[in-house]
Amino acid sequence: MEYIGEHLLPGQLGRFFVSLSFGAALISAIAYFLYIKSQNQSYKKVARGLFLAHAAAVMGIVGTLFYLLLSHYFEYDYVWKHSSLSLESQYVFSAFWEGQEGSFILWLFWHAILGVILQFTAKKWEAPAMIVFSAVQAFLSSMVLGVFPFGLRIGSSPFILMRNTADNIGLPWTKIPDYLERFPSFMDGTGLNPLLQNYWMTIHPPTLFLGFASTLVPFAFALAALFNRDYKSWVKPALPWAFFSVGILGLGILMGGAWAYEALSFGGFWAWDPVENSSLVPWIVMVGAAHLMLIYRNKKTALTAAFLLSILSFILILYSTFLTRSGVLGDSSVHAFVDLGLSGQLLVYLGFFTLIAFGLLIFRYKDIPKSKKEDDLTSREFWMFIGSLVLLIAAFQIIFSTSIPVINKLFGPEGALPLLTDAMAPPLDAIKHYNSFQVPFALVITLLLGIGQFLAYGKTNAKRFWKNSSISIAVALVFTALLAQLYNFWSQGLYLSFLFVAVYAIISNLYYWLFLGKGKLGFSGSSVAHIGFALIMLGSLISNAKKDVISQSEVFLSEDLPANENALLEQKDSITLGQYFAVFEEMEEIGNEQNYVVSYFNKPGDNKYAFQLRPFLLMSDQMGPTPNPDTEHFWHKDIYTHVTYSSYLEPKTGDGFGKEALVELGEGDTALYREHFIVMDSLKVNAGINDETGEMESLTLTAVARVINVLGQEFKIRPTYELQGEVLGHTDETLYEAGLRFRFEEVNMETNDIVMKAWSKLDEDQKPFIVMKAIVFPLINLLWIGSILMVIGSFIAVFQRYKNNRA
């Protein structure tokens, strides 16, 4: 059968590129292996050529998918699911990586680019490192193959036609040649999730995936070193890559935080959500790995640990991929990906590299050179090593708690080994749980990076150490006292010490850079990155510990419930929100956005508002109303607001009936609505049959029901449902005195119950209102400044290491 209006060529091309990228990567790995075994240069040439062909094929996949999305070929499942005709063209990127297949391709893309760079720069490491790259790429390509050999499912292709997906195959419409023209639902896609229609979603995923991809380079070097039994010289070329990874993955994670803060309504930049955690943990481990490599470069110790953490970071990326894409987090995360049925394949991927990497490490453990002499207690390397251990344990704590759903799958009552009698759920208060561990860990890390700069490799001269650090401590004490006074930290011991440590780390790194390093660029990488990190800590501490929910009401429902954090604002009425007087002015409907204009005055009676915010609800068929915050930025604080409810969301009839409710009732059933009982007594059926044809022409269904009020008074109601041929009508029953209206909406075909819709009369002079949350975040700008500095510092370090390597 010929289908009309389909564009099959680009899809076939796309699938060809996927197969090519898979095949070329696989054979390239084998050819590199044969080259190592035989040292035959022609194998190397073949391997190189194949990897280049693989990279070209990946570019082809990217190009084809963009072409499909831009051409709006909705016969393709991926295009239909992730884009629509009305999608603004700048969001085509977001549509590209909204689905799992697209994000796998993004990941493939970065690996391919890094692989090609490595191919031409890794020199003696090329062959073993490229085996790792090619093998990883073969696995990743297989994730988008979408083939079904021997009843197995391998990958999910973004180039599959909608009529060929497993869900649709065999359905009646797939047998209609002109289905594309016949059904309106195929003429436009379902569109992009409105939460992702944000510029951060254009730049955050590619940055994050470059970060994920970058962890593969130190991993590949470490495996190559173990494979070649050349344990020492890999650190030198791997070190700039490790810092590159720290910088770019850190940037990706922080961009995710900025997006959450700007476009999501959980009220903050970090919520310890499983998806956030699973990209943070590999970053923490990579920071540890980079510092261990530094120790090795300078003092030739901690080599085993450098191997371990370099390997672990990439394995954790794989584990995170498994966590977020297998659907195992389903109940615990709001934004984990939907399960595409690739869990098994992801497990094989994770298991393969875990076994190979750790197997090789254990196998070669004895041969890895270890330093015989004891590190001095006052040496920089000793405390850097301790710092890396703290990072490792912090990462372990986060990943363990995030893995509770996995533990539940394994050991829960329905698990493989049912050790637990109750299903284990994530901690009730996740933020409190994580903070109870991570605040002390962060405190130790920040302290170490403050002191570290004054410690020397080998042995530290005590006199010089105290001379340098006493100045920093003194200055830090002054600033800490100032901040503690301003933001009232005196009664919180842990936070107060954290405050001091963070300020101290900033001052000491500044001092180190300006006075000991004489402000030279050569010293700036670590100082700038460390100042950035300490600023992030300081900003998070103050903005979180001292955040003020100014919309919080004073009314407590019960002792153990938190006070309600939402305020109700009636139109044109003013209400006190912290130091401000807020007035909800009006709702402006712009496109599919309901903008709620709220003015903030400094004093009651002011003519001019201090500022105006417009949090909005994005109305979409797909997601329902989605709140979008609006934030006023000052240099020293942010006022973050979002609308949680509004009277505009309540459906209302022309004559003022609202508070719509749906009730399903069988014969004899009773329901409660607005302090009235509704008793459904019987259903009367009246069908008009055409005498000649015997077909039903009209159908009238009448619900015989009673409404009983609190005084026991009964009212009879007879709402009817009328079908005249194709035309559907309702006769509603209104009880004006009680202010109630009922409609016989429909009959539930499964249960044969009737569906009744009920409204009640709204208060005539009820003004429109909104329910809103407003939070003041003090000094949150320190966090963003710190983020930028940390990333800049990491890249200066990359540059320095790269330059040192070449010198």
């Binding site: 709001v334 708690s401 299903a423 284990m424 759920a425 019960s558 153990d560 609800l617 797909q622």
Partner: protein, 130 residues
């Protein structure tokens, strides 16, 4: 024994400590019956919205009540002193964190799972009225 070895042992001990605390902090998925047996103890209950029962949100008092049915099929009135979550009617599954009282389950946090567009595609797929 080297100092670094001692440090590693200390950190392994810390890791075991972290596991113990996490297991302690973790809550359990239960049904409404179990929650009612220990009123006041916080639990996580997964259920879905009972669409036959009334649902009421009083914006002025900021009180939201509805009835949920847990996985064992038990109905329970739920009380939530937060604004009604957006699109609550369309939720397929609700995760409620809170505790039982003698009259209702008091939820302090609610997560919902809504039919995603993936499911909506199935609706189109079921477009076989033709």
């Amino acid at each position: 024994m080297k100092r670094t070895h001692i440090a590693i042992i200390v950190f392994i001990a810390l890791a075991i400590g972290a596991i113990m605390v996490t297991i302690n902090d973790a809550s359990t998925y239960v049904g409404f019956n179990r929650a009612s047996e220990n009123p006041g103890t916080k639990y996580t209950v997964i259920g879905y919205l009972d669409k036959d029962a009334p649902m009421d949100y009083n914006a002025r008092a900021n009180r939201f009540n509805f009835t949920a049915i847990d996985k064992e099929g038990n109905k329970q009135k739920v009380f939530y002193n937060q604004p009604k979550p957006q699109d609550f009617e369309r939720s397929e599954e609700i995760t409620m964190k809170g505790f039982a009282t003698d009259s209702a389950f008091v939820a302090s946090e609610i997560l919902m799972k809504c039919p995603s567009k993936y499911n909506e595609q199935n609706e189109v797929a079921g477009y076989d009225t033709y």
